[in-house]
Symmetry: C2
Amino acid sequence: MFTTSTYQNRRQALQNKISGGILLFLGNIENPINFEHNTYPFRQDSTFLYYFGLAVPALVGLIDLDENKEIIFGREATIDDLVWTGPQESLSDRAARVGVTETAPISSLAEYIGRAIAQNRTIHFLPPYQSANKLLLSELLNQTPSQLQPSVSLIRAVAQQRSIKEAQEVAEIERAVAVSTKMHLLTMQLAKAGMKESELVNAVQAFAGNQDCALAYPPIITVHGQILHNQVRSNILKNGDMVLVDAGAETAIGYAGDLTRTFPVAAAFDSRQRDLYQIVLDALEGARAQLRPGVSFKSVHLHAAKILVEGLKAVGLMKSDPEEAVQNHAHTMFFQCGLGHLMGLDVHDMEDLGEQYVGYTEDNPKDTQTFGLKSLRLGKPLEAGFVLTVEPGIYIIPELIDHWKATNKYSDFVNYAELEKFRDFGGIRLEDNFLITPEGHQLLGPDLIKTIDDVESYRARYV
Amino acid sequence: MFTTSTYQNRRQALQNKISGGILLFLGNIENPINFEHNTYPFRQDSTFLYYFGLAVPALVGLIDLDENKEIIFGREATIDDLVWTGPQESLSDRAARVGVTETAPISSLAEYIGRAIAQNRTIHFLPPYQSANKLLLSELLNQTPSQLQPSVSLIRAVAQQRSIKEAQEVAEIERAVAVSTKMHLLTMQLAKAGMKESELVNAVQAFAGNQDCALAYPPIITVHGQILHNQVRSNILKNGDMVLVDAGAETAIGYAGDLTRTFPVAAAFDSRQRDLYQIVLDALEGARAQLRPGVSFKSVHLHAAKILVEGLKAVGLMKSDPEEAVQNHAHTMFFQCGLGHLMGLDVHDMEDLGEQYVGYTEDNPKDTQTFGLKSLRLGKPLEAGFVLTVEPGIYIIPELIDHWKATNKYSDFVNYAELEKFRDFGGIRLEDNFLITPEGHQLLGPDLIKTIDDVESYRARYV
């Protein structure tokens, strides 16, 4: 947890941006797995963490702008809680740690909100993503879940504030990235032919846990890297495969790292793997070089796509003019997703607030239709203080080839005859995390090995 | 997954018990952690698994008794899903594996239910525990979540059927218990002074994962065993402490094991630990000896409580007549919870259906007021085919001592002067899993070491 004044200052800065009404921040609950009291590991809502810092289930933070009050609503422990979960800090002691002097029983929240509604005051809230909070808002506001209207002014104010990371946040993200790099080195040490993908997942999870970290998201550790969010982990590694590892740690106070590496199960890449790996690496370095305030991330994305096309043309998988190929979205045969996203308290930072507010601007709205661009989470001009990922890749998806080839889609740009020879190639992604600085950018965390030579010589020590 | 006919037979048996209407079984969704697409590991609802077997998110199983139809509602994969999550089996192929021939898009469910409501037909459903399913039912039935009335006839029929385990279920539970015993042996191998509790949790989790199992519940691994559901894992083990490990595996198709052992961090128990450990072991063995069809588990609970009191009297912590002490609930100074619970697809089997239906009968309802008995999840007469845990313990809770001593509560039975000397003792629990057989009972899984001599000689090999 940061200092008390951190949270006070953040709330003060927010209050200065909203003219009136009540700001309602719903904390998360402990979510049931298969019955109410068998629950998933608790994770506090990130915006609640940002303004109220307490990783305690079932709290609600309220800022009453009209009456100049801050209140944390919650539940005091009973004697039964003592028996089942041990002595608990009181709600008021907890609140004091984040500079909130007023607390109230959660059971009195409905009355508080009801009174404000009766006074025709605005209740600002953020888009709920957990069903429990949809239900709670629905009850508090006496609306059906589909009627709930999150506050766009609150969303914009929160997104703007959380987008610019404080120095202490950057330091915490660097800690998350540092643990993440060690998780990746561990996979490069352990992976060997005959091993199951899940063994690497389990090792990474235990390692993160032993560093007092959680996993920021379900790791993707797969020999089928062409499946972007592959959660199948039952394949057996064999020589000739590459392992794509997309894994990041989350620190105890909730900040994420998000790194991807792709390495051969054998001691060395084969020549095709080497060729395509180098293209992805070139795209990463080329994109990185463009990172600086004022540059739109959409242009960085398209620049990376062009580098990918140039490389793919050089190896005969694409043809024609690279610029034109990218303008026609033909690179999405190989690169179907976005180049990166903001990162912070969430691995996709503030994705719950809506990408149109977080990653785009009113003047440059998100393209929600075009295959490829509709998956680009960040498109707006970069600002100093942004933390983001850059993650180009080449993904050869047999079903997508069949689907598009059947209609000659992109046949001016894609060399289908050559591509057929690669249909079982798999996928490669490389991902690093950066801070945008006034001068340009800074790599976050230690520099995790990524050149072909470095990866091969590291692997050679363990294979 | 079991054979197709398993699921067909289970559904047929259920249909024979309900006279008419529609039976609605809501599968679970992937629950968001901190935004919609960052989700916890998927766990299917247990009743859905029991009747429809498919561990796939966002399915609904429907049995229309009036029209003699079985339908699985779900969503077919799109080309986008292919890119993000790889090729998926079709809904109809999935349904065929559990003997259901009709499938429909989830978007058509509301219409189906709406038509049935218009026909004044009964929609039977079970109590929803995940908020997403409360919302879904609320929408389907056009009722507020608090208006929803689960079907008592369906609850009773499901509880009766799921309570009596099939041979193949018992075999699967034995597999879960077998992995659980290995998890426990691992903790006894690894634990040493200076280690953090969480390191044992992480090791156990990775081990279970490498056996293709999940954890059936968040493990309790603590030097403060007196806190019944302790989830703090930041303490450092030191000589003189005992480690209480309550951990169980869940097999790939969802069956749980649930074992507890308590062992010394040093190579041997000290004399007080030894004394109280033996009392708990005596209670476990005494309770076990009573397990047979027709015996109420409440009487087994009270019998175990009496053995605990006898032992505590022998060491000077209690006084007066043990029988009378138990009748007055004075044992709850040391044993605040219930002796055990049913186990199966849930570690607390069918807890979501309601303990009054699952663990009790209409004639012998649950005591929901009395401290101690209100935490006894199973009270009804045992039947052959039940699988359950037996888990006596002694928990010395300083705050509870202070609370009760202040009002002289149980001062006829509790020797507070002596108890004060034990206030930092901690807690001991021992837990095994049993099948009720026509003749009596059978221990499930391998016999995990539990005598003082066996535990000490095992620990001596690793300390």
